[in-house]
């Protein structure tokens, strides 16, 4: 291999490094936004029901700003190289998915679907080989949502909201039924799925306590 070939390899390497720096910058940005949202959403555990909409109004602008990051990343990543760079932002993206689905749940009591999350985060389907939302990352975000809801079930009761745990219980059980349909192999998704049963147990205990003491309205579902 002569000097020219070595120089060529060097050039390729330099291009990659330049790109990596730029991507890292955007990922840092996305990460910061995801953290801000997680921080704000953490307040949900001490926010009375009537103040929840106000809290969500604080989260939404940050969520909206994720669209800029998505567009920036999509423009940076070369065609057909999504999976090459994806590891760099996987965690941040999952946290952003969590924030989006949490806001979705708090507003409507339902699960924000993957295409809806994609819309919220401004991920264009046409970018699919540059910047996309893979099912796996969406599912990770949803599991984080369940983890957080099991906390909320406990804390809602503390704040005197006895209906919330019952709503959460029904919602999480539906999700668990969904996750049970997947053939998971031994990876992090599988481990996190296995941990869901502890969340469910925790929520059920809250529901039991509340129902036993007739704190919740009796029209609640059987469990």
């Amino acid at each position: 291999m002569d000097a020219r070939d070595l120089e060529y390899v060097n050039e390729l390497l330099e291009q990659d490094n330049e790109l990596r720096e730029k991507v890292r910058e955007q990922v840092h940005d996305l990460d910061k936004k995801a953290r801000t949202m997680s921080g704000l959403l953490n307040k949900i555990h001490s926010t009375p029901v009537d103040q929840v909409p106000a809290l969500l109004e604080q989260v939404k602008p940050v969520l909206e700003s994720c669209k800029d990051t998505s567009a920036a990343l999509a423009s940076l990543i070369p065609l057909a190289q999504f999976w090459r760079w994806k590891d760099m932002w996987t965690n941040s993206l999952r946290n952003a998915v969590f924030a989006a689905t949490m806001v979705g749940y708090l507003e409507t009591g339902t699960l924000l679907t993957l295409p809806r999350v994609r819309d919220v985060l401004g991920i264009d389907l046409e970018w699919s080989d540059r910047y996309a939302l893979p099912a796996e990352d969406y599912l990770h975000g949803v599991i984080s949502l369940v983890n957080e809801l099991s906390r909320l079930a406990v804390n809602a009761v503390t704040m005197g909201n006895f209906e919330e745990p019952i709503k959460i219980s029904a919602f999480v059980k539906d999700l668990f039924a969904g996750f049970s349909m997947l053939n998971l192999k031994n990876d992090t998704l599988r481990r996190r799925y296995d941990s869901l049963k502890y969340d469910i147990k925790r929520i059920e205990e809250v529901v039991y306590d509340v129902s036993l003491r007739k704190l919740a309205p009796s029209k609640s579902q059987a469990f």
């Binding site: 057909a80 190289q81 009591g109």
Partner: protein, 276 residues
Amino acid sequence: MGSREAILSVFECFRDELDDHNDRRERLIKHGRDVTNLSKKVIFLLHRIMVDDAPDDPAGGGEGTGDRARALKAASRGRDKLREVRAMFANVRHELVGDRFWRYQRQISPGLQEYIEALSFAHYLETGKLISYKEVQISLSDDKGIPYFPLPLEDYLLGLSDLTGELMRYAISAISRRGGRTKAQDVCIFVRNCRAGRYFEGWTPYFKDLRKKQNVTSQSLEKIEDAAYAIVVRSSEYDLSPDMLDDIVARAISFHGVSGNGRGRGRDYDEDGPDD
């Protein structure tokens, strides 16, 4: 999305997607193992031909030409086998369309590196040079020159790092043969050039595995250097015939524990040495 039915139907799609992904992943792991095996066989074949004690081709005149002819024969037989490996890569091409290649890169790269190691060994025997990135990429392209998949720089460099281990074996097993001492010197200089310089050494921070492989390269280099040292020292002390020199060298090598595996003259290349 509220009702359980809606959630279940969505998760059914996820199941199909994840199953598809896992199945493809499994297929590629199996494929990678086959590629690795066949590539290893090519490397053993090359070693075997190079230490073959059979008389040289009648075409080869003197000692040097005989060795050269042997190297070319090894390279051409190696290339025949490598064509089979390439055909295997061509077969999975449809699994790696678009950015799928990058998704499954971790499953592909062990086999790919082994292939590059074998290819670069054959290339060295033929030309005495390090194969270039472009040459490897061309070897992994179809007749029209369209690559089966993009060649990751990392796999190229790691494959080349493994080559130095093979060259060490090659040099040590050649050293006790006629004309092997010059060959060992050549390899020594070549490996030293691979390791040093602003290239490989300068690239190490960018690839996590390259550092480890560079260390292995250094060890290989030391083994060759020790053997070369032994030759110079002994031959300067005594006025020896080449035959006696060969004996001394053989002893020196076994002292360094390299030919202890029977690699000096034997043909059992069953185990893999310094590379993982």
